[in-house]
Amino acid sequence: MTPLASYLLVAALVFAIGLAGALVRRNAILVLIGIELMLNAANLNFIAFWRYGPHPEALTGMMFAIFSIAVAAAEAAVGLGLVIAIYRHAQTTDLDKMNRMKG
């Protein structure tokens, strides 16, 4: 049986990697990917805590994970839509070039 800590560590690792991705890449899409990774890491935490928690039958963590998956889907859709819109507007998805606050 795997201890909870190891799951949490993996989640933390994935979260850190996602954060790094969001921080170091130029491309907006990659930033989105990083954010998705972070969300997933959070989900993993939720599930893990649900699984090892005192009241798994209450389904709290599970529900949280499910809802966050749904929300993440929405977030991805909107985010990518924005990226495409920005691309159409500025002909680039490079965040370093995207530093003007008005069109």
């Binding site: 921080l23 995207m98 530093n99 003007r100």
Partner: protein
């Protein structure tokens, strides 16, 4: 649902009573649907409104038959269906509807006349581009009016009453592009509003006193049983009982709607609306609503009746009615606008109805209401047909000789005119007016109303003769040639004409069916009622009246065709009276000089106060603060700034540093966020150290 009657023990509401609400509902729904239609959907609008109204007519007839049947079996039908609208605290606000002789008769009248007028409007409004809107309003009006008729709760009645007022406003101002029409609409709305304020006061007072809004609620209603006695016991100002005071307040509302003195001013101007509107609203039904209201709350007015069967409230009603009748008749003599003449005659006839209520009770007033509704609608529609035929010409001096041009209109119009004059025996007008005169003659308090009414009747005959001879006899003085109106307009005229004659039958002294029906007595046929000397006397009187009026009128105007600009025959005789009458006793001017002037003056005063007094005060304060500000400025520039500016520079440099963080780069922000997270976690763990 339970039911109650004034006279007999309660009996369960019959099915027809249960579905009585459908009668007003149908037209209202229809108007709602029509309001969604596009303008060009004329046929749909027509079908909807007329279909719904005829359905209501059918239902009303059934209801009427039901009531008559009950009455014939000697059991007076007064079935109510009540329900609680909402409730706050212990007080409940109840709504409901009632089916009794009064409402049933009124229902049939309103739906029938209304239907005829709807049909008539098809022809009259055929060329108007807002046809659909017109029918929408018309249906809404019909629905609201029927609501007034059936409502058993004074609140429901008031609501319908206000909707009626609204529709009247909308319809008077139907041609709002005419400034005169818009003004008239506004005038009508405001004037009736004056009355409605009093009405509302009355309602509130009544509710406060009796704690119920229902008229009939098997003994617990506001105008029956203990409620009335309580009202009587309750004293109000200047020695009047609460019942009287409330009755008077309600009467004020009725006066506003029915254009009684002194609130009659709006009704003549209301003729700016399309003629069917004038016929339907401002002759047949709406203005009758006031009379109907008094009839509905009659127990309240009659409460604590003295020996002569009269009360202070009824006395007021009588005097107002009588004086209105005379007053309006006088004015009508000197008008030249065909519709205005009819309008003033309407006012005076309403005066008759009121007087009838005050003198002879519900039956008398209501009977005249019914007959008048028919022949006045007839007259208005005839006038409409004339106007239509003369290409929107309304000045009777520019007409004439139309009897050959539009024979059918002439015939029907003549019948209407004769009915209005009250030509004996053959015309309904005679019987109803006769009943009023009879009761006036028998009034214990004073004979003055009787003579006023008689004189009014003479004048009525006179001005109708004048009008008809101007319009139909002599030579045609208009420019473009007149033509008869289409079938769809003349047919209703014929029908109405028939009833203008026939309706008299139900109210003859020999067989006072109508009165018996309303007063819930058995109607017995006794032909020697005709032989009673009193009645013969009255017959004689009215003969004299009619002969006088018509003869006088005919001698003055008959069959001669004065050119349009020539002064009126009467004017030549007594110019000063003429002037007074033509200018309607200067009532409008009087109001203008008093109330309106007062308001304007008050507005000016307020304006002056604003500018001078308050404005001055404010200005003074401003000035003081200005002074203070000057002082501060002095201090600032010399004391504070020296130290402050330094700090500002420091801060701005710091701000510059901070601003460099605001690079607009997403990742910078994200980075800072992450750092914050780290810090937070660190703090968390640090603080949670064991």
């Amino acid at each position: 649902m339970q039911a109650a009657t004034l006279f007999t023990p309660q009996l369960a509401a019959s099915p027809i009573a249960k579905i009585l609400w459908l009668i007003p509902a149908m037209p209202i729904v229809a108007s709602g649907v029509i309001s969604l239609l596009k303008q060009p959907r004329r046929k749909a609008a027509t079908v909807l409104s007329i279909g719904s109204l005829s359905f209501s007519l059918l239902l009303s007839l059934i209801a009427f038959a039901h009531v008559v049947a009950g009455w014939a079996q000697g059991a007076a039908v007064c079935e109510t269906v009540n329900f609680t609208w909402f409730q706050f605290g212990s007080t409940t606000v109840d709504l409901g509807w009632v089916l009794d002789p009064l409402s049933s008769v009124m229902l049939v009248m309103v739906t029938f006349v209304g239907l005829l007028i709807f049909i008539y409007s098809i022809g009259y409004m055929a060329h108007d581009e807002n046809y659909t809107r017109f029918f929408c309003f018309l249906s809404l009006f019909a629905g609201a009016m029927l609501g007034v008729v059936i409502s058993n709760s004074i609140l429901l009645l008031f609501m319908s009453w206000e909707i009626v007022g609204l529709t009247s406003y909308l319809l008077i101002g139907f041609w709002y592009q005419k400034p005169s029409a818009a003004a008239a609409a506004k005038k009508a709305f405001l004037t009736t509003r004056v009355g409605d304020i009093f009405f509302l006061l009355g309602i509130v007072w009544l509710f406060a006193q009796t704690g119920t809004l229902l008229f009939y609620n098997h003994g617990a209603g506001s105008i029956e049983g203990w409620a009335l006695t309580g009202l009587l016991a309750q004293p109000a100002a200047l020695g009047l009982s609460a019942a009287t005071a409330i009755g008077l307040l309600i009467f004020a509302g009725a006066a506003g709607k029915s254009g009684q003195l002194p609130l009659h001013v709006w009704l003549p101007d209301a003729m700016e609306g399309p003629t069917p509107v004038s016929a339907l609203i401002h002759a047949a039904t709406m203005v009758a609503a006031g009379v109907y209201l008094i009839a509905r709350v009659y127990p309240l007015m009659q409460a604590g009746a003295l020996a002569g069967g009269t009360t202070p409230a009824l006395t007021v009603v009588t005097w107002v009615g009588a004086s209105t009748a005379l007053f309006a008749a006088l004015i009508a003599v000197a008008q030249n606008d065909i519709k205005r003449i009819l309008a003033y005659s309407t006012i005076s006839q309403l005066g008759y109805m009121m007087a009838g209520l005050g003198l002879g009770g519900v039956a008398v007033g209501m009977f005249h209401l019914i007959t008048h509704a028919f022949f006045k609608a007839l007259l208005f529609m005839g006038a409409g047909s004339v106007i239509h035929g003369c290409h929107e010409e309304q000045d009777i001096r520019k007409m004439g000789g139309l009897k050959s041009a539009m024979p059918l209109t002439f015939a029907t119009y003549g019948i209407g005119m004769l009915a209005l004059c009250g030509v004996p025996i053959f015309f309904s007008g005679f019987w109803s007016k006769d009943a009023i005169l009879e009761s006036a003659h028998g009034w214990p308090l004073s004979q003055a109303p009787f003579y006023m009414l008689v004189f009014g009747a003479v004048l009525t005959a006179f001005y109708m003769t004048r009008q008809i001879s101007y319009v139909f006899f002599g030579a045609y003085r208009g420019h473009n040639h007149a033509h008869e109106s289409p079938r769809v307009m003349t047919t209703p005229l014929a029908i109405l004409a028939f009833f203008a004659v026939a309706l008299g039958v139900i109210g003859t002294p020999a067989w006072p069916w109508f009165r018996a029906f309303l007063d819930n007595r058995a109607a017995d046929v006794s032909l020697h009622a005709f032989a009673e000397p009193a009645w013969l006397m009255l017959l004689l009187t009215s003969c004299v009246i009619v002969v006088l009026g018509i003869g006088f009128g005919w001698t003055l105007y008959g069959n001669k065709s004065p050119n349009a600009e020539a002064p009126d025959a009467l004017e030549r005789a007594v110019p000063w009276i003429w002037a007074v009458l033509r200018d309607k006793f200067y009532v409008d001017e009087f109001y203008g000089a008093t109330f309106i002037a007062f308001y304007e003056w008050w507005a000016r005063v307020a304006d002056w106060l604003d500018r001078r007094v308050w404005g001055g005060a404010v200005a003074a304060v401003t000035w003081l603060f200005g002074l203070w500000a000057q002082l501060n400025r002095f201090l600032d520039t010399n004391v504070v700034d020296g130290t402050f500016d330094k700090g500002c520079e420091e801060i701005s440099t710091g701000g510059g540093l901070l601003a460099s963080i605001q690079s607009g780069r997403v990742q910078n922000y994200l980075r800072i966020l992450a750092l914050a997270v780290v810090a937070l976690v660190a703090i968390l763990i640090w603080s949670s150290r064991p």
